[in-house]
Subunit: 278 residues, 4 copies
């Protein structure tokens, strides 16, 4: 399982280039960087060269489409999605991710129908470029009542949604924090096939009751209470060989420099991988 | 628009054959009969001959799959669906219908995801045989709170669901009672394309507040307060040329004989078509 | 059936605006203009206003994707397709068309597989914007041996291909010249449902043996030997209410001015519609 | 990679039960047996018990649908497919396979379109039961001209076809004989993802020029010239962990008893796995 970095957890990064350089400098093999920006600034060959020079591959890109609002807003994002998919594919990217808010102001059944169609459209555009779409279920309890009606937040519900979308290139983004806050077990991961997982997020949770863990209250791997050893060992055991990228959402930006945070991230990954016997 | 009869509204029918004969005798052009039963009893040629002799075509068959419960129950219905589709196709049938309960004990978003996949599977099996799947939204207000959570009950939500299912052969079953109890207008029908409608149900509602109209409190066409003239005229105006089948759900079986009820149905259709200027 | 003009047959048109103005001036209700160009030059509102002022709606746009060559070329067209679809949708367009060459240098079975996937991708992007994809089978005999292997050229083969693509928004572009050069009959059109037809081309053929009619040897409607009365009458009879657009492919540009050619087109349409009793 | 036996290569087997018992007795972990027959004779629990008692799991079932002839024949096989899929799923089966003849009497492009739709329908029915469809490309040169027109026979063409079918549960049946007779290399296998392979066939080829190797001239693993060490090592290297089932097609039934042939098969597998370092 290749170690990756995202921007979330590195403080005040100046740009994509710094993310890639820090990833390379601290032993990470992937960076969740923006492919369009990289190509705009360096050209395709320059961007590839930047990645290669740092020993880093392109990780997951974010889904540049607002699929939760009105139809016009959704449609207006599709040209950008096509450009993003093309750009990511040029740099060797194979993953694009979005998250599922666990509550909604819509009628939830109706929203599920509309969002199923919209995410299918996104998956199909991505699929043309050989890119997969990862859906991240979101566990923190406070978000389940943040909007009017409960939506979905468990892994099994998300797998059912993926089946409803019905495209070969849709799978899970499995985030340790959401696994933890939805009461996930080793068995839950153990019954996945590796190809059902598009991307993995690594992070940790504070020592508070699970129901009180806030979405933006995450810790660096190994600094909290999530059993990341079991998490990573089980993922490895089912044959997952993709990227495990750090994602630390916090209420305020950390004080340390990006460099110090990258070193701290490296230490966290070392601890978590060691706990997994990897 | 061809007039059709279903069993609902003809009292204590003895069998499919009586439905077909009454349809033919009272000027109906279609009967929502069970194709498998007809073929079992008459063979394919005999069943065709029975229909032809009575001047009646096969209307819609019901979906013989329980898609609202557990997965095992759903799967166990698919062999029967394949047989039903094959049988209907042999008799010239092109429609299969099911209804959507407006509330559910499931988490509604999750149920929408699961049901989307299941109905897609049904649609694909039907589609192999050239048969379309009609989804009937169900309007009576009392059913919206009959189970724990609201699901969907409007035409627009159902059209969004049809798009989520994403198969070319899925459309609406448009029932006059549900159009009425969801506050449907001529404009609502007017913006449909005829190919979006798989089947139409005709019936009437008692003179009570709309919110009090019970699902099994339906009247014969022309005996109630629904503006069936507008309903049929608008359907005809958009180019719909399919079947308009009577469906009268009542709390108790009517006292009259099937023959008397068929005559009454005929009179009701005459009134409604006349009101539409057809 | 609304009369439409394309550029093919109007000589040396200066731009899209002239096409729209000539369409309006000579009683045509639609113009197969380029939506992206119109919006670039006039903005969305200006483009709409230009169409409205001339009493013309946007007809079919061409598919801006090369789906017959290598994969890289195919993929590089998708961002443009997304932009074109968005632009057409903004102007009320609902149709996008491409043609099928009747022979190919590829292994034909392999090409069919690859092209099925590619056109499905195109259809899905168009479908997100409510636009349909029309496939035009191409009849002239000389093209059947123009490349190494026969591909497909009949209406029935094309319908089978549409089923293989499997998207709800794919249908036929029915061109009178190709109907004629493939030996099409009224019965062939008569068994279509109107929603299977995305767009129609009108033109005529010289009085030569059918097998000698050249693809770029087309005449104006009513100036040749195709039974356009039967063609249009049957289309109207099955309920087709879409656009019938002129497309005249010739070896050399005609000498007349666009204005004279528009007048000639109008006369041709008048003759053909009159022959159809419309 | 689990070793499996099919009937092809065991001579005059009496029934499915003997296949399962021989598989168990000679160290095979899977048997390509007919699930419907097993359940008819033993009931679901009895059939499961028979498999468990012999330490054998259900391998791939054959596709019980004739998809290469007329539409009526195709459709008439779908009820049986639904039953077979249900039966296989009840016994834990996850694979169903069919083969692609490398030439055809149809127009090959047209046949590709029709067969794409039909195999999609089959895949969807299988997919409802969690069963995958494996497509076997067929390499022997003499079959490429056996019917009028070339169809497809390479792995890459087959992968393109799988993409055209477009269902998540369709993949390759990779047969050592067809890999060999199409000039397959380790690199060809090396660029597959394990989930692209539904089933594997093991067998060997006589020491004749590749172009002369007959489809029904196959040898037991390790008795011929195919580099099965490379074949199996590469499959294992990409992470394939599914079944490798023997399939020996010969012109005449071998003289030996099923028991002797099972022993010989075991020895062949031992040689091939040893050559692969497994």
């Amino acid at each position: 399982m290749r170690r990756g970095l995202s921007k979330a957890g590195l403080g005040r990064l100046e740009n994509e280039e710094q993310l890639i350089e820090l990833a390379g400098a601290y032993g990470f093999e992937a960076a969740d960087a923006d492919a369009v920006t990289l190509i705009e600034r360096h050209g395709v060959n320059g961007a590839k060269e930047l990645l290669t020079r740092n020993g880093v591959e392109l990780g997951a890109i974010g889904l540049p489409v607002e699929w939760r609002q009105d139809e016009q807003t959704f449609l207006s994002g599709l040209p950008q999605l096509t450009r993003s998919a093309a750009a990511a594919a040029e740099l060797g990217g194979t993953a694009c991710c979005t998250y599922i808010l666990p509550s909604t102001d819509w009628n939830p059944a109706h929203f599920m129908a509309v969002a199923t169609r919209r995410l299918r459209t996104c998956a199909r555009i991505l699929g043309a470029y050989g890119i997969r779409l990862g859906l991240e279920f979101v566990g923190p309890h406070h978000l389940r009542t943040r909007w009017k009606h409960p939506f979905i937040w468990t892994m099994d519900e998300t797998l059912d949604w993926i089946a409803a979308i019905g495209e070969p290139n849709v799978g899970l983004l499995l985030d340790a924090y959401h696994w933890y806050t939805t009461g996930g077990t080793a068995e839950d991961i153990g019954r996945l096939k590796p190809e059902q997982i598009v991307h993995v997020h690594l992070n940790d949770a504070p020592d508070v009751p699970v129901a009180d863990a806030l979405d933006n209250g995450r810790l660096y791997p190994g600094e909290g209470v999530i059993d990341l050893g079991t998490f990573l060992r089980t993922l490895n055991g089912i044959g997952y060989r993709g990227i495990v990228a750090q994602e630390i959402l916090t209420q305020t930006q950390p004080e340390e420099s990006p460099e110090e945070l990258a070193r701290r991230s490296r230490a966290g990954f070392d601890r978590a991988y060691a706990a997994a016997g990897l």
